[in-house]
């Protein structure tokens, strides 16, 4: 027996609705993040990540209520990301019932924010999200840079160095998304995943690009990820969480079934 590799369905939520759409819930509840979370919880998901992409202030209040509702009905860990910029934002989400918060661009604008957050709330609840894109030319040694604004804006920051810095600042986990692979369904960028997983001592969640169950296995075995995150393969009912876990177990990956 060993620590299980985690499977984490991710919900992109805008103004209180899951925006990518979810096939498996009936029409009445389509896109309700609480219903979707409950379903994943029943399916045996190891954790849920809730990514708030709401832009408006009013929308943020909706998010807090949604998180409260999920946390009172779903008894597995819940990570909330998107728009976490201040210690108050973190406190609000933790009080609403989130177990961890994911910090992305705020860490880039002010790396000390991660330090402050970890000091105040403990590393165990501070996830730093990294959006990486390969910037090396063909034939060169691979190199990845952090991008912001959904992969449009380069920052000049090396992704592996950044991951090391963020863990030194107190991040308890890294959520790594490959912007090259995101939405492509070709599998994770295994090179950047293993490079970062080997460079840091904290768990790494691989994200971006899952199109089939072998991709999840590869993320763990080749990418050395501690957890794998996916959205659309689960949302659209292509695969269920138990199917994913059974497949991973059959391939020799330790999972919680």
């Amino acid at each position: 027996m060993a620590l299980a590799k985690r499977i984490i369905p991710c919900l992109d939520v805008e103004n209180g609705r899951v925006v990518k759409g979810v096939q498996f819930v009936d029409i009445r509840d389509a896109g309700d993040p609480v219903e979707v979370s409950k379903r994943y919880n029943e399916q045996g998901a190891d954790e849920i990540t809730f990514l708030d992409i709401t832009a408006t202030h009013e929308g943020r209040d909706t998010t807090v209520h949604t998180v409260e509702k999920i946390a009172s009905e779903v008894f597995i860990p819940l990570t909330v990301g998107g728009g976490i910029r201040t210690v108050d934002d973190i406190r609000t989400m933790l009080n609403a019932g989130a177990d961890k918060v994911s910090i992305n661009s705020a860490a880039i604008f002010n790396p000390d924010f991660v330090k402050e957050a970890a000091d105040r709330f403990g590393s165990q609840c501070i996830v730093v999200a990294i959006d990486a894109k390969c910037v090396s030319a063909e034939g060169e040694p691979k190199r990845w840079e952090i991008f912001t604004h959904g992969g449009r804006k380069p920052t000049g920051i090396d992704a592996v160095e950044w991951a090391k810095k963020m863990t030194a600042f107190g991040a308890g986990e890294i959520l790594l998304t490959s912007m090259d692979q995101d939405g492509m369904k070709n599998g994770f960028d295994l090179n950047v995943t293993s490079a970062i997983s080997e460079a840091v001592h904290v768990p790494v969640i691989a994200s971006g690009g899952v199109g089939n169950l072998q991709h999840l296995v590869d993320g763990v075995k080749l990418g050395k990820a501690d957890a794998v995150l996916a959205a659309s393969i689960f949302h659209f009912g292509e695969y269920s969480v138990p199917e994913a876990k059974q497949y991973m177990r059959d391939q020799g990956v330790e999972v919680r079934l």
């Binding site: 027996m1 299980a4 860990p77 904290v202």
Partner: protein
């Protein structure tokens, strides 16, 4: 007649909402209160002593609120008490976190760091120990009722407890090394994992706690 109460001790460290909602879910015949008031806690039928974050900060708040005296009194009173995560660690004698912190000493033993060079079968292990691991039930206990041996529970911690007294260990876990994850002594039980985040196994454990008859 009013319902019996389960009090969740609040000393400002961590998310108690989840513990309270999990209890509301499994113990509908109890009132669940989250409180830092000595009187409210002392009047409860059962007490949960949770905690997350750094040991130094936790112990500082515990002492400031006088819980380092209250908690031993509650334990001595015979009421069922459950420590969770850092709550469990705070019940031990001493922790090596933050350069060494004296704890409440209700369960003799040390809290130690996993270290940054933990390995298992030649593979490097990440610290914190974060995620779902199996718990071996090393002794029978009412809180194990209805839970299979080697069931998964959710952990997140970088320090682990090692009891001085083997006979208090009722659950153990393996992560690079073997460590104690459930300790029990009379009316006191303490768990390193988060039952409130451990899905059906965790809910069953909390339900068992809510029904645990310690003879008090």
């Amino acid at each position: 007649m009013s319902k019996a109460t389960i009090a969740v001790i609040d000393y400002g460290m961590g998310n108690l909402h989840s513990v309270a909602s999990a209890l509301e879910h499994v113990a509908p015949n109890h009132d669940i209160v989250v409180s830092s008031e000595v009187e409210v806690i002392a009047n409860a039928e059962r007490i949960i002593f949770p905690g997350v974050g750094a040991m130094r900060d936790c112990m500082a708040e515990i002492k400031r609120l006088n819980f380092h005296r209250l908690v031993p009194e509650l334990i001595a009173s015979g009421k069922p008490v459950l420590g969770i995560c850092v709550g469990m660690q705070a019940l031990m004698t001493h922790s090596e976190e933050n350069g060494g912190v004296e704890a409440i000493n209700q369960l003799p033993g040390e809290v130690k760091f996993f270290g940054e060079h933990l390995t298992e079968n030649g593979e490097r292990l990440k610290v914190p120990h974060m995620g779902w691991n199996t718990v071996s039930q090393t002794a029978d206990h009412p809180i194990w009722h209805g839970i299979e041996d080697n069931a998964h529970f959710y952990f997140v911690h970088s320090y682990y407890a090692k009891s001085e007294k083997k006979d208090l260990v009722i659950g153990s876990c393996q992560y690079g090394l073997e460590f104690d994850v459930v300790l029990a002594k009379d009316n006191l039980a303490a768990v390193q994992f988060h039952p409130e985040k451990s899905h059906s196994n965790g809910l069953q454990l909390l339900k068992n706690f809510s029904q645990w008859n310690t003879g008090a």
